[in-house]
């Protein structure tokens, strides 16, 4: 799993059936303090996230298949949670 900020929405009409009705976003992995961490990535939304949200992304082969209840899902990464805040417990942000 990784923390990321939703930066853009990918609009597509022609797509694999597994993507029907789902929103695909460009996400920028971030550190807990919000700074960018590595290359951007593409993720399928599962929690009604929006551009600007900080989210938890993740997935493994077969996970999307189970989550969406479909037979085949060529989906690597899902947006699985919208982050409201990160509690550092008085530690310095990483």
């Amino acid at each position: 799993m990784f923390l990321a900020r939703v930066t853009k929405r990918v609009v597509a009409t022609q797509k694999h059936p597994a993507f029907a009705g789902k929103t695909v976003f460009v996400v920028q992995p971030v550190r807990p303090d919000g700074s960018a961490d590595g290359a951007e990535w593409v993720a399928v939304d599962y929690v009604n996230a929006g551009v600007g949200d900080t989210v938890v992304c993740g997935g493994a082969p077969g996970v999307a298949k189970t989550v969406f209840g479909i037979e085949r899902a060529p989906i690597r990464t899902l947006i699985m949670a919208i982050v409201e805040k990160i509690d550092y417990n008085d530690l310095e942000p990483a």
């Binding site: 853009k8 609009v11 009409t13 694999h16 290359a39 593409v42 298949k65 690597r76």
Partner: protein, 64 residues
């Protein structure tokens, strides 16, 4: 099969090119697409299995 050049959302080349299958026949040279790799690439086929490393799954109309 297509040769894909991975790009950032701004269109700049980001990684080395790779070969990808297009099981849904949705792409043409010059198009912006979403692709998946590894096990997910095999899942893009009706059979659920194909000896490929990457598959095109979306033809991108735009990024907003």
């Amino acid at each position: 099969m297509y040769l894909l050049q991975p790009v950032t959302s701004e269109g700049a080349a980001s990684e080395t090119p790779l070969v990808a299958a297009d099981p849904g026949r949705i792409a043409s040279p010059g198009d912006l697409v979403v692709y998946v790799t590894s096990t997910d690439a095999t899942q893009a086929f009706e059979s659920g299995f194909a000896p490929v490393n990457a598959s095109v799954v979306e033809l991108v109309d735009g990024i907003s």
